[in-house]
Amino acid sequence: MKENISALLDGEGNDLERERALRALGTDPVLRGAWERYHLASAAIRRELDVMVSPGLADRLHERLQHEAQENTGRRRLSPRVLKFTAGLAIAASVATVAILNLPPLISPSAVSVARNASSPAVGKNTVADARQTPPEQQSALNLYLVQHGEFTPAAGMNGMLSYVRVLGRDSAATDNANAE
């Protein structure tokens, strides 16, 4: 399985192997540790590791996800199988990005809201704090517009393809949660 994890890290392997690896990450703490180390090593080799990520992050994320999921069982009961799989997906993505990108949001989610508030100094409803997160049902409706808007998005490069990323990834978290509930 470690070979599958390594392949996942390298973006190799077929869909089945990728799915197995992600599922295994949700259940096996040893593999999570290996996943974390692979990413840290990779980032270190590439000299992209700006700060040290403390060991055991993957496990802490796993626990946090399970804890949050349990809190949600008051509304709907989770399928353990789906929960493990979802946790695996989330951890794989989360640890990979924390290790490689070294972004503050996962380490300190509050940093995001602080930063966003600072992005728009105007008062009143023009501040981002007053712009609520788009609800999932409206995200789907907005996809139609985002696809067309994507034709005109030049700045972030990749020939505008990045705009379409939002259509693909926009409500994946919501979908994860919905699937898990």
């Binding site: 990108l101 995001v112 609800p135 972030a156 990323v165 939002r166």
Partner: protein, 323 residues
Amino acid sequence: MTGFFLHRFPLAVLLGLAAPLAQAADAQALFARMHQAGRSLDYEGTFVYQHGDQLESLRIVHKASADGVRERLVSLNGAPREIIRTDSEVRCYLPDENAVLIEHRRADNRNFPALLPDSLAQLKDNYKISVGKEGRVAGRKAFSVRIKPRDAYRYGYLLWADEASGLLLKASLLDEQGSVVEQYMFTQLSIGKPIPESELKPQYPTKGIVWQRAEGETPALSTGQWTAARLPVGFTLSARMLRMLPTRKQPVEHLVFSDGFAVVSVFVEKVGDEAKPNALSGLTHMGAVHAFGKVVDGHQVTVVGEAPALTVDMIGESVRFGP
């Protein structure tokens, strides 16, 4: 300068003689080269997309041939979605919504960098552009270009491009304080290897799925009188057209406002018999994208753009019919 880069680029890459881009202070040429690389190269890779506390992993396959450019973008986690884009249309495969959306692309195919100003003079009024340091991204030597906004009406960008090919490897959208709002980065990338046709076909079965196709071939030019009365400094109307959207029976007016980097789209459609239970009202955000919705004179106005709330709100609140 642009012509020089575009003309010499393939040979330079082949011979390994590509000069460090940091030496080329001509930002326009850099952008042109990055765009050309993104369009003309064959490549496939995996990248991560981060917005707020959300993380996505995606795979992109890009192939350029005499028939044009084809791309396939696949989400690797979350909902199993993919997008296949050609020069003429965009197909969104959304199995979780049991739908395939098919959108026609613009008739004149005017795209980046054509949307950029003819000179950097206009851009420099709104942004400070500098060629940054050299580094490594996804194991490749890269150079950075920093685009810093001069006010709070637009985001900044930190772009990292492959030194050998010019392909964009990493892009960060930054707020006025320089904090990351949204970020993309390749974690694995292969350039120049043959891409089999199977890699450009949808992965998920489409049997039984609902195909939602926009009526009409391509968007038509619009002479409508919808406009935004207030625009942030530097923004101008870049394009306007009438589009037929999947699931819509009436055309939708699409206005595009841009300052050369930031782009904000305004969509106006009549509130008629077609129920739109999820029509947007007020201001929301999805990562770096802000969206705004309201009803004006019996029309639903929806504004989306990779711009701060301040900008999207100002444009959205000022949309009106008539001169």
